[in-house]
Symmetry: C2
Subunit: 422 residues, 2 copies
């Protein structure tokens, strides 16, 4: 008997019929002897429906008071779906109780619409489990020290589930979603992409940060911090699938580096076309120049991803970075109107038609020549590399976005991901 | 400057456009210098939508665990509408904050789906008002001592508003609804019915208990207990109607017996066709007989309204009472199969095609001959009276339901309600 946390996304909770299926699946796990805690999202479409109503009435300027009300509003979606799931479990003959975030003291900071979990009081949940009940806890939300409802931002239910699993010291946190695991790359781009049976926490973090929609990145960080074994699996299998088969399905995000994992050098190919690059050419290469550029960008609340500064040439250097494509125009304006004149830079150039492609793999740590193999594969396809950035488990390149699919397929093949199961 | 509580029903909150109108109206009151607390119902249809989802998933047998979840579910409707109203007020440039029942400690007992308010902690509300904010408090709900959400039953938002007004010692509690006040009788039955400018608390209680849909009876009881001046008025006037005119509109439910009120003997004619009568004929007239009959009925959870026992004749008496028409079959069966045989009663007869018509008026206390005037008016129309029950401020008769409209019109005229404004 183990304590298990299940998390179900909005699609899995999208109708009473689907909620009933979730209840049957959870009841199966409970009847197999597990202590079950379930974290559901709101029914699909509900959060959007509520926020659309708010938007119709919203003040011209979004401030803290408005964001507090957005949270008070949006949190109702998960409270309703959680109660419905508890009712469905009761309908399946299983004792069950649902709690909103504040009722089991999921304490957060007061950053409305993007709060961070500080602590969870698990006493009440344990008492209910000890009575043989399935405990449902609303995803996405918590409560601040003053008793205001907070929400964790989009995808926050993943984080809630992991936080609950960490607080309860659960054996595993199963994230049921509409994909059946983590793939070597997006199967829509590379049909030969294969599901990974396991992926390391660090790799998953890189995959998630590259725009993979499988898991919210904060939930992966949380899982890493508290070493919560996390499994991503499909909620669209039949509810009465054999429980042992189900328990081994999907992708396990692991915190133990086992021997199997050592064998694969590269686990997956990630990509992201939401970026744009900006370069300041001919900047005087003086101490503090990076701060003067990026400090101003950060003050404008623009997040920067890759940063590259070339070696100096005749006291001048070129400085490049990438930002989200939505911030491209604003960042360009800022550089052209304020930063370049101030620093005496020669020119500001930018390009929004780029993409970032990365190879990710914990095996890269101990293997040389991985990056050069990547560059060769791209060069053989005639793809020009515009920027490069590397870390211990990831090598990323910026290329023209028109080559994205070609690059991903070439790399997927070059690193034997078409055949090898990591 | 006074502290005023407004309550808006589901129809008034039925769309973003209507919520905006409510916000404009409340903002007008706040800008006139009042401290404003607003209690909204859920958007119309929302509570039914949620409960319909629950019904699809419900266990075969409704128990406490299920009812707890129903409350957890249904309470989201008011939390959402309250947040939307706060947002709409912010959209009108008015500082505003919304609170769910648990956040301002509307403590109730643990009777899920029909909880009763025990206390309200008004400190937080007062602090927000002192900062110039309009405070929105969810209607319909509270929290029990264990932190479970409770709801007060249908129409519970009226009770919430009155309880908040009592706790805050508000100057007046304004119940905005889809009728423009309390009438001498239902205008659909008597087109000459007139709106009452004031009605006493006791009269209102009798009117409400007779099935008038204007106010939930518990809210009137609560208002009586705490002497909260209550005004029923229309939410369908233009929001920018002159505030002094608005403040005098509708019907004031008053706790002070002023001179005006003494003048009217009868304030209104109430009626109710939801009842059925049952008679036990030839019951031995022994001590405790009433308890033996009604105790068994109460144990079957059937509520009894009128009770009449005739004088004894040859040691036998006839015993009659009325129940809600929905309970008629069950009550008849109970009497025929168990009670009548046990008591040796001669016969059980019943009739569901009856109605109850009452004259209500605080002036009856000090006027003789009111009941006889009622009986004469009915007799002049050839209406046979089947049962009579009287109290200090009400005289009710049970008649054949086919005469209901005729009786109401005759009484409305006989007591000069067509012309006289109470």
């Amino acid at each position: 008997m183990a304590l298990i946390v299940h998390k179900y996304g909005g699609t899995s909770m999208g109708s009473t019929e689907r909620i009933r299926n979730v209840a049957k699946r959870v009841a199966k796990w409970a009847r197999a002897g597990h202590q079950m805690v379930v974290v559901p999202s709101a029914m699909s479409g509900e959060t959007n429906r509520l926020l659309a109503l708010a938007k119709e009435l919203a003040p011209a300027k979004s401030d803290t008071a408005y964001q507090r009300e957005l949270d008070q509003l949006a949190a109702t979606g998960e409270q309703a779906s959680s109660a419905l799931l508890a009712i469905a479990l009761q309908g399946e003959g299983m004792a069950s109780v649902s709690y909103a975030g504040w009722q089991v003291a999921i304490k957060t900071d007061a950053s409305y619409t993007k709060a961070r979990i500080a602590s969870i009081d698990d006493a009440r949940v344990r008492a209910e489990l000890a009575q043989g009940k399935v405990v449902i806890i609303t995803g996405f939300q918590g409560v601040d020290d003053d008793g205001n409802i907070t929400t964790l931002g989009r995808g926050g239910s993943d984080t809630s589930a992991v936080a609950v699993a960490a607080a309860m010291k659960a054996k595993e946190c199963l994230i049921y979603t509409d994909v059946d695991g983590v793939y070597t790359t997006d199967p829509r781009v590379v049909p030969e992409a294969r599901r990974l049976k396991t992926v390391s926490f660090e790799e998953m973090l890189e995959m998630a940060s590259m725009g993979s929609k499988v898991l919210q990145i904060r939930s992966v960080e949380f899982a890493g911090k508290y070493k919560v074994p996390l499994r991503v699996l499909s909620s669209f299998t039949a509810w009465d699938i054999d429980i042992n088969e189900e328990a081994q399905s999907g992708t396990l995000i692991s915190f133990e580096e086992d021997e199997n994992m050592e064998q694969a050098v590269v686990s997956g190919i990630a990509f992201n076309r939401d970026e744009a690059k900006i370069s300041l050419l001919g900047v005087p290469d003086t101490p503090g120049i990076a701060y003067q550029i990026l400090g101003a960008v950060a003050q404008a609340n623009i997040e920067v991803d890759m940063i590259i500064q070339n070696v100096s040439n005749e006291g001048k250097t070129d400085f490049s970075f990438t930002v989200h494509r939505n911030d491209f125009a604003r960042a360009s304006d800022l550089l052209k109107s304020q930063i370049a004149p101030k620093l005496g830079a020669k020119q500001v150039i930018g390009d929004a038609k780029i993409c970032k492609v990365s190879i990710v793999g914990i095996g890269m740590r101990s293997h040389v020549g991985v990056a050069s193999k990547m560059f060769r594969a791209l060069s053989e396809e005639g793809i020009n590399i515009q920027m490069i950035s590397t870390s211990e488990i990831k090598t990323s390149v910026v290329i023209d976005e028109k080559y994205m699919e070609l690059a991903v397929r070439a790399l997927h093949k070059a690193f034997d991901l078409d055949q090898t199961q990591a």
